[in-house]
């Protein structure tokens, strides 16, 4: 096999791995959209906020230290303790649940029955708010997430495949973290599917997704389900935040992965969990291959827009995405 072809395969594999990361973010969108019809633009910022909180708790940072110092002239930064990773993750999940409750109580309860586009804009406001709060609480410097996840390339894979392509080929380079992320994503999706299929609350969640009024009439509390769904989305955001944070540090750019997840959603359809995953894989492979094959001809950095244009062209032919519910319009 020629080296170029093998490099192409490597690009495809890395694209698949990147796609898994996109799908992780897209999952959170789908969960909320299915259950409440809210297109949650704040999902990426939630991932950032969750990761910031996790780091902050682990390091024992004082929340709002910067603000307190500026107001009272004090010099506090840390409590002086370190919280073990597992406990910190539990605490962060707790914070995300409180956040879910607050969002439901103070924002979306007052917006019931509004047009979807108004709800969408409210989540943009929420994204700004949460971004500001995250920075105020934990500071805006780049933080490293020391969870002990494996880093760097997988050497054994590189060595094992080095012989395939002759002189010019040095073996497949695949980030260990991506492999872990793929495993985590599989577990997460399996868990979500099991939850929604086999538990009482999961069934209630699906009932709400099907029809709000019918669900209400059989005694399901919409309020509780929405808090549950936002908490789940917060948990998914935490997982995505951990993975992306371990990859590139916990910093502002983490919130931009939401923008990456949007074309994934368009491609897969807003209402489909398998769609989010297949869409993520298609976008991941597509943009990596495009950058590999066409990128050098047009000056590179095509990853910024390729996903959007692909999704746009795709939607022109299939307006509801790959797995989305057929759009039926009535007057």
């Amino acid at each position: 096999m020629s080296a170029d072809f093998l490099y192409g395969i490597e690009v495809v594999i890395n694209g698949l791995m990147a796609g898994v990361m996109y799908a992780l973010v897209a999952l959170g969108f789908v969960l909320i959209f299915k259950a409440s019809g809210i297109f949650n633009f704040a999902q990426g910022v939630m991932a950032l906020f969750a990761a910031l909180t996790l780091v902050g708790i682990m390091e024992g940072q004082v929340p709002f230290a910067h603000l307190i110092n500026a107001t009272f002239g004090t010099e506090i930064h840390h409590f002086g303790w370190h919280v073990p990773a597992l406990l910190a993750i539990f605490l962060t999940v707790g914070v995300m649940v409180v956040f879910a409750w607050a969002v439901q109580r103070f924002l979306f309860r007052h917006l019931v029955g509004q047009e979807p586009i108004i709800l969408f804009m409210a989540t943009i406001g929420l994204a700004y708010f949460l971004e500001g709060v995250g920075d105020l609480m934990w500071g805006s410097d780049i933080k490293t997430l020391a969870l002990g996840l494996p880093q760097g390339g997988a050497r054994w894979l590189e060595d094992a495949t080095a012989g395939l392509g002759g002189e010019d080929f040095y073996g497949f380079f695949i980030d260990k973290l991506d492999i872990v992320a793929t495993g985590v994503a599989i577990v997460l999706v399996a868990g979500l599917i099991a939850f929604s299929q086999y538990t009482k609350h999961g069934r209630a969640m699906r009932a709400v997704a099907d029809d709000h009024q019918a669900a209400l009439s059989v005694g399901i509390s919409l309020n509780f389900i929405w808090i549950l769904v936002w908490s789940l989305a917060g948990f998914v955001a935490l997982v995505a935040g951990i993975m992306w944070g371990a990859k590139s540090g916990v910093q502002f750019s983490l919130s931009l992965i939401a923008l990456k997840a949007l074309p994934v959603l368009m491609l897969g359809g807003f209402t489909s969990i398998p769609g989010a995953i297949v869409g993520g894989l298609i976008i991941g492979v597509g943009e990596k291959l495009f950058e590999f094959l066409i990128g050098p001809m047009v000056g590179g950095a095509t990853e910024n827009w390729f996903a959007y244009v692909l999704a746009l062209l795709f939607l022109v032919f299939r307006p509801q995405g790959l797995f989305g519910e057929k759009i039926i319009e009535r007057v």
Partner: protein, 358 residues
């Protein structure tokens, strides 16, 4: 007592269908224009013009443009930043290619170029609706910014990748470049704002505006009663992009002078203009002005309080600003989904009955 139709008899058709049917509105309008044109230019300094007046005027044009598309025609666009970049780069290319032509003509032509680009990106709106369209317009945003970054022809192969406006004059007075007097750049923008607002106001009152609103309220029903969705949607995209392009050209040439595309016309600009029309009021020309004024003054105001009064560091105030803007957006959507323009409308209703409300 002053603000009512009673006793204001119209004796001709033009008088009956004029822009402001209530006499008090007309007088108020002329007073505002007179103050803006004849008083303010004599009292401005560099700081006021650059920090408040120019951004307000320029964002007003962009907000009017986006309001036509989103507020009147119901097509949500997140590509405003990209279209502003088209206006800026079109203006730059025209300014450098035809140095002898008046800059004002270039700005209008830049709007025309943007209208063409906007119409092309508006084509998918015939198939894609709602959120899907909102995300699809992001394609325009990211693709256009990337294009202006990568293709050297657009920035005339300059080493820094930036574009900077050469000095151009109107009636012998510099309006672009470093030697521009503050009042001149203010007046140029004011002229464009006035004309744009007048055009927008009358377009939205007319047949075209009613078609847009029919499409917004329910596009299938509109199609059945004889509105051509192709024509209505594409004209909305074209007109909206024209205004956005003009504002982009002014933003680059008159306001900033030198521009790096990713920084000046990034996704944040799209959101900023969107916030302006949400806070100001969707589907209202006055709302575009109110929203622009609000979001331009808010950071200045916060900085005044936070940095100068309380002595907080600037980065803290910047974060606080995000929180405040986010909270305001949510507050407005919960309490007043129709924006500042609705408050204004309510005030006018009250004024009509004053002083005998029953």
């Amino acid at each position: 007592m002053l603000y009512r139709e009673a006793g204001d008899y119209k004796t001709s058709y033009p008088a009956d269908s004029q822009t402001f049917p209530i006499a008090f509105d007309r007088y108020r309008y002329w007073v505002v224009l007179a103050v803006a044109f004849l008083v303010i230019p004599f009292f401005v300094n560099d700081y006021i013009v650059n920090a408040l007046l120019l951004p307000f005027l320029i964002y007003s044009i962009a907000a009017i443009g986006l309001n036509i598309l989103t507020g009147y025609a119901g097509q949500v666009s997140l590509g405003t930043g990209g279209f502003m970049a088209v206006g800026a780069y079109a203006c730059y290319k025209l300014m450098t290619a035809f140095p002898d032509v008046n800059i004002l003509i270039h700005v209008v032509l830049a709007g025309g170029v943007t209208a063409a680009v906007g119409t092309a990106f508006g084509l998918p709106s015939l198939r894609i609706k709602g959120f899907y369209l909102a995300v699809a317009t992001l394609a325009a945003q990211f693709f256009l910014v990337w294009l202006f970054n990568k293709v050297a022809w657009f920035y005339n192969y300059s080493a820094s990748g930036q574009i900077s406006a050469p000095e151009r004059t109107v009636l012998g007075i510099a309006v672009t470049g470093p030697n521009t007097p503050a009042w001149a750049s203010y007046l140029v923008c004011l002229v464009f704002v006035t004309i744009c607002a007048l055009i927008a106001r009358n377009l939205t009152r007319g047949a075209m505006g009613r078609q847009w609103m029919a499409i917004r309220d329910m596009d299938i029903a509109a199609e059945i009663i004889g509105v051509n969705p192709l024509k209505a949607k594409l004209t909305a995209f074209a007109v909206s992009s024209f205004f956005v392009g003009v504002s982009g050209a002014l933003f680059f040439a008159v306001y900033l002078g030198a521009v790096e595309v990713g920084e000046a016309f990034g996704i944040n600009k799209s959101f900023l203009v969107l916030f302006m029309i949400i806070i100001g009021g969707l589907g209202s020309i006055f709302g575009a002005f109110a929203g622009a004024a609000f979001l331009v003054t808010l950071p200045v105001f916060l900085k005044l309080i936070g940095v100068d009064l309380l002595g907080w560091p600037t980065d803290l105030v910047a974060h606080l600003q995000l929180v405040v803007v986010g909270l305001l957006i949510m507050f407005f959507l919960v309490k007043e989904p129709h924006g500042l323009a609705h408050l204004w409308r309510l005030a006018k209703e009250k004024l009509r009955l004053w002083p005998f409300p029953h």
